[in-house]
Amino acid sequence: MRWCYLPAPPSWGTYVLPLLLLLDVYSLSALLLLCYFLYRALATSKVKLFAFFFSGFAVLAAGEVARMVVLLVAILSGAAGLRVLFLTHVAGVVAQISETVAFLFIAAGYTLEIGERARAAVLPLLQHRRDWADVFWATSLLNTVLLAYIVINAVNVYISSRKRVAALPAIAFSLMLLSNVLLMLSLLWADELCFIASKVLYFLGLITLLVLAVEVSRA
């Protein structure tokens, strides 16, 4: 197994894992709330586009759960050193792949909304990757491309409506895009501060989605 070729995870002692777990709990609650409203919207309106956004956020939530389980195992087992390294890599790769699938759903939703064909031609990239390090980098790059595409569409939606509620997904996806870019840079430069900033930005993106879910629940 070539996990040792993966970029090094953060090495700031045991408090980091519980902190990441806490962020994941908040992120998961934001995603689940949004999924709940999207599912209700789909069930009531029968508008198929809601299914794409629901599926995207549901897969993101599933990725968060997978990451939480792995982090929890790492914390509870008191694993140290190489085992933590291994487990955090597993968590990272699982979450990364789920994000790719999720962003594909969301990008497809925006694509169908504007009446163009889905651009899934990048998928074969993954089929030739065998080891986890390659999968991690491939999904990171793919996520960045997908997020850039999603951000452009979300900003277009906001520009055409100029409504506050439409600004929230645009902000959330922009923060996720920035987070993804910072994540890649942090792994490239082995910069821990950059890694933390990336996690915080991703968390802020999900909090923005939580604000959206709260606004919807208040409507």
């Binding site: 586009l49 956004f53 979300a154 939606v157 409506s161």
Partner: protein, 91 residues
Amino acid sequence: MSARRSKLRIIADILRVVESEGEANISKILLEANLSYARLTKYLGELESKGFLERIADEREVKFRVTRKGQEFLREFRRIEQLAEAFGIEL
């Protein structure tokens, strides 16, 4: 905004007109909901049978009032509308 309204939006428009008036007669709904008489009566019948609207009839005219179920539907529609606006989905 699309040229054609979905059935969901038409139902919400009718319920909104009636809710804003408290009680509304057919002429008022016809004017505000922008529908033909034939389509409106068809929708009113459907909304009544689903329990979203209740008919209040006296000697002079027929009026409609939004039921609790209708109010709940309107609340749900507002949520759907917010999500649709957020993600640029046409309803």
